[in-house]
């Protein structure tokens, strides 16, 4: 852990409103707050995992940091310089060293273009005029991600899922980014391919000096890869901390439920643990106070009064729960123990 490294990306009180329309002759549609007052730091060289269920705003947060989605409030700094509040094209230009790798690597490639042409296109856009140089760099990068340089002539549909992830990485790495936002880099891959992709990610980080913001809902992957974790629920970060500390002593009830729900091989019987009640409330009609209240096993009426802020419960471990100080004790009566919730190989008591 490089706790003292300066943040390369720093997000302060970021909010993003999506949609919303005041159309002529149309019913006005109120915007949806997909990201609410999020603050986080990404330190140079680390892997920060952003975890949450579908629709919690983690992809929106990633795209906003990237600059493809415009922030509604708050500030984003990249490498010490403010890059927020710019016009869309200027915002993206200021953040060209931040790149995004799509979840569906195959669909992110133009089906009519060969891989080599797609990869070289990024270099054309970056102003590499010499075709031979482009070809060499593409071949070099394909080799770096473990693909045959001859595959540059092939088309996206001729690759497997795992190979497409490699192609997507090669395409982005050709642009020499410093920060990569990886959206579910292992989803839809079988276990053995997942492992090779994760190893490749670690290897590439070493080789190119990359920083990863890693968006995922797969806790076993997160535990394996990331240095720090931020748990998101309904647009807010509800818990953040070093991976080990957070997995050993999850403090937010939502984190505990996520961990209890994660399937694992060792300790097969653990699956009966807490079901999450209900669905997440709609972001258009978020309840007042703590957004997790209706699904929280330990919630109290008082939680509805105000939105919980992140407070420190460990050296780097912060949680946004009104009952955080008491939670660790109370949980026993709900049948979930802190130690039980480690994702892989956790021994169950009794």
């Amino acid at each position: 852990m490089i706790a003292t490294a300066p943040p390369i990306v720093s997000v302060r009180d970021l909010s993003v409103l999506l949609g919303g329309r005041r159309g002529f002759l149309r019913k006005p549609v109120p915007p949806v707050a997909a990201v609410k007052e999020v603050s986080l730091d990404l330190r140079e060289g680390e892997i920060l995992a952003l975890v949450g269920e579908s629709g919690c705003g983690k992809t929106t947060l990633g795209r906003t940091i990237l600059g493809l989605q415009r922030e509604s409030a708050g500030e984003i700094q990249f490498d010490g310089a403010a890059v927020s509040g710019l016009r869309p094209d200027a915002a993206r230009a200021a953040r060209r060293d931040i790149q995004y790798v799509h979840q569906d690597a195959g669909a992110a490639l133009d089906p009519w273009w060969s891989i080599g042409r797609t990869l070289a296109e990024g270099l054309v856009i970056r102003g590499v005029r010499n075709a031979a140089e482009r070809r060499d760099r593409v071949a070099e990068m394909l080799a770096a991600v473990g693909l045959d340089p001859a595959s540059a002539r092939r088309y996206p549909h001729e690759f497997s899922g795992g190979q497409l992830r490699r192609v997507a990485l090669a395409r982005i790495l050709l642009l020499r980014p410093r920060v990569l936002i990886l959206d579910e880099p292992t989803s839809g891959l079988d276990m053995s391919v997942q492992a090779t992709v994760l190893n490749l990610l670690l290897e590439l980080r070493e080789r190119f000096g990359l920083t990863y913001l890693f968006i995922s809902h797969d806790l076993s992957v997160v535990a394996r890869l990331s240095d720090r974790v931020a748990i998101m629920y309904l647009g807010r970060i509800v818990e953040t901390g070093a991976t080990k500390a957070l997995f050993d002593r999850p403090a937010h009830p939502y984190t505990r439920i996520l961990m209890a729900a994660a399937p694992r091989l060792a300790g097969r019987q653990a699956a009966e643990a807490l079901p999450v009640r209900g669905d997440p409330p709609s972001p258009t009609a978020a309840p007042p106070g703590c957004a997790f209240l209706d699904r929280c096993p330990i919630g109290e009426p008082g939680c509805a009064r105000r939105v919980p802020q992140l407070i420190a419960v460990g050296s780097e471990h912060r949680v946004a729960c009104h009952l955080a100080s008491r939670a660790a004790n109370d949980w026993a009566s709900y049948g979930v123990f802190a130690g039980q919730t480690a994702p892989v190989g956790a021994a169950r008591h009794g």
Binding site: Y100, A108, P111, W113, I125, I172, L175
Partner: protein
């Protein structure tokens, strides 16, 4: 190209259409050398007026004693010229409008699409007739009228495709990589949107031949003595039903050509979009 041809070859009606289109193309190119009486494009031989089909004149002769077979063959070039010009001009108008309307949003896009809807709402033949009537009757004004009524079909198709594609992940990824809009629109969206356009253009060629024949029939298209199929049918009216061959063979030429283009277009569409595959 290979898989397209391979799949097309399994579609019998489409192959039939392709055959017809190839024959019409050959006739259009080599017509003057194939036709038994190429001089009959303009000459007249009053001594052999309205002869029924015979060994010398397989399709008979018309009211000026011209060989109908020759005129049907010579007419292919004119029909194709009209159809190609009209479809190309309509594409040149319709495709860019569809790209702009689909890629941008806002008042410009709305205006383009509403105008398109209005033009589409009027039957094409009626609109073309009105336009051709406004201009001086000639082949050029007929072609102009047809082009000005056919572009909305391309705009709608390209608009829908562009909308779909600009929301697609690969366009999003291109924006992420820093590609500028012209690059995205012309190098990525346009090629991806082109296959339904080609299908529509193929069907449009047949349809335009038909409408051009109608305009010729109504005296708003080709002018005598051009060997135009529609014009021939118009001229034959006075001699029906006695000289049945006079109207029949140009009519069959129109029918077979239009059907050929339609069958080919349908076959292409099935290949491009298997969801639209007809149950046969």
């Amino acid at each position: 190209m290979k898989p397209i041809l391979a799949r097309l070859s399994r579609d019998l009606p489409a192959m039939l259409g392709l055959g017809v289109v190839v024959v019409v193309l050959l006739l259009a190119i080599f017509g003057p050398w194939i036709a038994p009486h190429p001089e009959d494009a303009s000459a007249s031989h009053l001594l052999r007026r309205l002869k029924p089909p015979s060994a010398d004149f397989p399709f008979g002769t018309d009211n000026l004693g011209r060989d109908i077979l020759s005129r049907v063959i010579l007419g292919a070039r004119g029909a194709l010229q009209i159809a190609l010009t009209v479809v190309v001009v309509a594409m040149l108008i319709g495709v860019p409008l569809g790209l702009v309307a689909g890629y941008r949003s806002g008042w410009l896009s709305e205006t383009i699409m509403r105008v398109t809807d209005v033009v589409l709402a009027i039957p094409q033949l009626v609109l073309a007739l009105a336009l051709a009537q406004l201009l001086t009757p000639s082949l050029e004004s007929a072609m102009l009228a047809l082009s000005l009524t056919y572009w909305p079909f391309f705009t709608r198709i390209v608009y829908a495709e562009t909308r779909r594609l600009s929301a697609s992940l690969f366009v999003d990824a291109l924006r992420g990589v820093g590609a500028a809009s012209p690059r995205i629109v012309f190098l990525h969206i346009l090629p991806n949107a082109l296959s339904p356009v080609i299908v529509r253009a193929t069907i449009g060629l047949g349809f335009t031949i038909l409408v051009a024949a109608v305009l010729g029939f109504l005296g708003m298209g080709a002018t005598p003595p051009a060997p135009d199929w529609g014009l021939a049918i118009a001229d034959s009216r006075t001699y029906l039903p006695r000289a049945w061959w006079y109207a029949t063979f140009p009519g069959l030429a129109i029918l077979i050509t239009v059907m050929g283009f339609n069958l080919l277009g349908d076959g292409l569409r099935d290949i491009v979009d298997p969801r639209l595959r007809r149950s046969r």
